[in-house]
């Protein structure tokens, strides 16, 4: 059976915005770190934090454990800071922004103005390295929720940032965490005070625009006792021939009875059919359920990036805390995705759920890599993992590497995984009822991912389905 390509859909978000921008010289050294810090008027303690991280990074070696083959990255040939000109002074309102910038976001499908009115989702947009503007600020302030760029948070709420920054992902954690800690430029900061259910979903949109730029943003979410927040994140980048680096950190702290839901749709430029260009997406995401009854859930749809390493993890420290990981990773062309999760059970009666769906098409490689660790203290811990892979085409690969370490006899841990191709029976069934092959495949794939899609917030769920359809359009042959 052969399915002819109907449409050659190119990367829809591959445009570049012509905006004058300000950037530092290429390369990374102590001076650049100082310059970034100075630029952002940072206090002494943060500069020290950056310099310490830089020292740690310099002594680290680039990891070699990975399954994917990556070309060597020249860290001296990158710009570590780029900002749209004119944002030296933080814009007071969105109206003050460069109209061309706003148009960019419009093209991306996040009309900040519109979204304000219609969806009621508060958006913080990060363009290259600088946070542009946050909508719905006042309404959030009324509820006591702090949602701003991390630079602003350093200025206005230093005690909170100082207490939690690096507490979940310390600079010593890994190579890219150290790099990010040294040069992180901006990102979002969220604080939900005690007893508050965040009145609306929070959202960040990331975009890499400038050439030869690395984007290093940092997100810190702190949910105080009895609070709740739903956080969304989306990303795109222009189409370029050379590879670009994205090394971000996301930290989540959930205190007593708090619940944080974090959803991502990642669609960085993935390079062309020959594997030229694309984003290297090396991200450290980790949440800690610090106190009793807290919950963290990660939902991700990974559809972009030339190479992805991403393991959103949960440390279940508080008794009765719960962690969840739902993921759909789709790879086509020459993409390599190595993603999964870590669930570390420390507290009593902790629970975790892992649902991972990998779809590999064309010549791509899709890896699930995960760790479930039950410490001796985690009495009655419970884990359920399911990782399914689907293969489309005979040149792609799907791998599964779970690690399961159980050190407490009262724990119950289950893991199951399967790999197969789209069933010919299902295809035949749909086709015999007049559904064309492309539609049929898209239906089957969406059904395959249903468990994950249903955990996404509504607007993302629609976007995710479309994204998968579009990506598969020219992959099926």
């Amino acid at each position: 059976m052969s399915f002819e390509t109907k449409i050659k859909e190119e990367y829809k978000w591959g445009f570049e915005t012509n905006i004058e921008r300000e950037e530092f010289p290429k390369g990374l050294n102590e001076d650049i770190v100082r310059l970034i810090s100075k630029k952002k008027n940072e206090p002494e303690w943060l500069l020290d934090y950056r310099l310490k991280a830089f020292k740690i990074w310099k002594e680290m070696e680039h990891p070699t454990w990975q399954y994917s083959t990556i070309p060597e990255i020249d860290f001296e040939d990158l710009y570590y800071y780029a900002s749209p000109k004119g944002t030296k002074e933080a814009p007071k309102s969105l109206d003050e922004l460069d109209p061309e910038l706003l148009e960019t976001f419009e093209k991306l499908g996040i009309p900040l103005q519109e979204q304000k009115r219609i969806s009621g989702v508060a958006v913080d947009a990060v363009f290259d390295s600088v946070s542009l503007g946050t909508t719905w600020k006042e309404d959030l302030e009324k509820a006591g929720v702090i949602f701003c760029s991390i630079s602003e948070a350093v200025e206005k709420h230093p005690e909170l940032v100082k207490k939690y920054l690096g507490s979940v992902v310390p600079p010593t954690d890994n190579f890219y965490a150290a790099l990010n800690a040294a040069v992180f430029s901006d990102g979002s900061f969220v604080y939900i005070p005690k007893g508050v259910t965040c009145p609306m979903d929070l959202s960040t949109y990331f975009r890499i625009n400038a050439k030869e730029t690395g984007q290093f943003e940092r997100t810190l979410i702190v949910a105080d006792d009895d609070s709740y927040v739903n956080y969304l994140e989306g990303c795109t980048a222009p189409q370029r021939d050379e590879n670009q680096l994205h090394a971000a950190i996301v930290e989540i702290v959930a205190l007593d009875n708090a619940e944080v839901k974090y959803s991502t749709v990642q669609n960085w430029y993935a390079g062309d059919k020959e594997g030229k260009g694309g984003i290297f997406n090396f991200v450290t995401k980790r949440g800690i359920c610090k106190c009793v009854n807290s919950k963290i859930s990660w939902t991700q749809v990974e559809a972009g990036s030339a190479i992805t390493w991403k393991y959103p993890s949960c440390i279940l420290q508080g008794d009765n805390s719960e962690g969840a990981f739902y993921s759909v990773a789709l790879t086509n062309h020459m993409m390599q995705a190595d993603t999964g999760t870590k669930m570390v059970h420390i507290g009593k009666n902790t629970k975790s759920t892992i649902i991972s769906k990998g779809i590999s098409a064309e010549q791509s490689e899709n890896v699930y890599r995960g760790l479930v660790k039950i410490m001796p203290s985690a009495k009655n811990a419970r884990n359920y993992s399911q990782c399914d892979s689907m293969l489309i085409g005979d040149k792609c690969a799907a791998n599964t590497f779970p690690y399961i370490d159980v050190k407490n006899p009262t724990a119950t841990v289950e893991h199951e995984a399967s790999t197969s191709k789209i069933s010919a029976d299902q295809l035949f069934y749909l086709q015999s009822r007049g559904v064309d092959p492309e539609k049929a495949i898209s239906l089957i794939v969406n059904g395959f991912c249903k468990d994950v899609f249903k955990t996404l917030p509504l607007e993302f769920s629609v976007e995710a389905v479309k994204l998968i359809e579009m990506k598969l359009e020219n992959s099926v042959g």
């Binding site: 489309i392 791998n399 599964t400 690690y403 370490d405 159980v406 841990v413 399967s418």
Partner: protein, 403 residues
Amino acid sequence: MSITEQVEKDFSTLESSKENLGLFLQKGLPTKKNELWKYTNLERFWQEFDLSKQQKADLNAIEKDENFNHIFFVNGAFLPAQSDLEVQSGATELTSLKHELKELLANESVFHLVESQTQNQYLLTLEGVQEKPVLIHNFYTSEHAKHSSAHLHVLAKANSETTIIESHTSEDTAESFINNAVSFLVENNARLSFIKTQELGEQSVQVQNTRALVKRDGQFESFTVDAGAKLSRNNISIRLDGEGANCAAHGLYVLGDTQQSDTNSFIHHNRPHTESSQLYKGIMNDKSHGIFTGLIRVEKDAQLINSDQLNKNLLLSKGAHAHSRPQLEIYADDVKCAHGSTTGQMSDEELFYFESRGVPRERAQKLLAQAFAYDVVLKIKNKTAREYAQQVLKKNFKNLKVE
């Protein structure tokens, strides 16, 4: 003295093959940095042994069960007088068999160490349908041998059918470091079943390297029972190298005290239309550790594959640990591969069921543990061999005490 220096010194007295020794020295003993040896520190056990004391010993009284054909090895050396079947050493077929299997376990430095000793290399050739299972006795004495190493090659000729049991026992006080290898070449349409039972004394360490190359329509079954030794490590590498070939690799580890058992299996689907199935179960008591790593790889053009793998662990006490890593590497699209892993304790409901019917808790626990284990033993097709494995388990369950 470093380990490499020690090996060079100890091996200088032995007749050994330079090339393999070179390969071993180049890689050294596996460390924790090697992902496949992440949980087992071989170096810790290694230093207690002296390689230069490798000596032959004889067996005195032997009782032979008539249901089997017997072959005897003591401290890795063949005893021709007592054995029913002949094993050859130094045959030309041995060289060609070695050549065919040379890619299997090529990254395992401990395997090169076995290969570097040329004196204990044997070949067993099997033809036709063997009614009686072959029972290979491996016995290790406490007095003479500190280190024992032997490599048995089995050539299962086309259309042959055989069951082989390899039993490893030792004197209770033996402190042997046993580093063995078994290599199988299963020719077209041959059937071979290999059952290894290990009940070594608690001071012994065993590393067993099992390799099998299965040709067209060949069937290979490997079954491992590990009940003794303070450390047992199984390196299993099976390649399905012909259409219609299939294999099964099953195992059971029943551990107590501070025992550790580490299984690393690799099933390589190199040709289309091949099948494999695996079931590994562990029962861990006291402070024992059970480790399972299983990788299934399906090559690029090996379509129409069926493969499944399951690892189940039963933890019986507070200090017991289970590590499980079921892995898949798939490069073909028309495949059905699945793996699973579970770890847990005995279900309270099942225990309650027994107790409410007047069965004391201790006895109920024993019964449940046995039931958990026998499920694997039932996978052995040959009746005589299955009964043999059941006897071995029964002996070991006698002392099982659940916390």
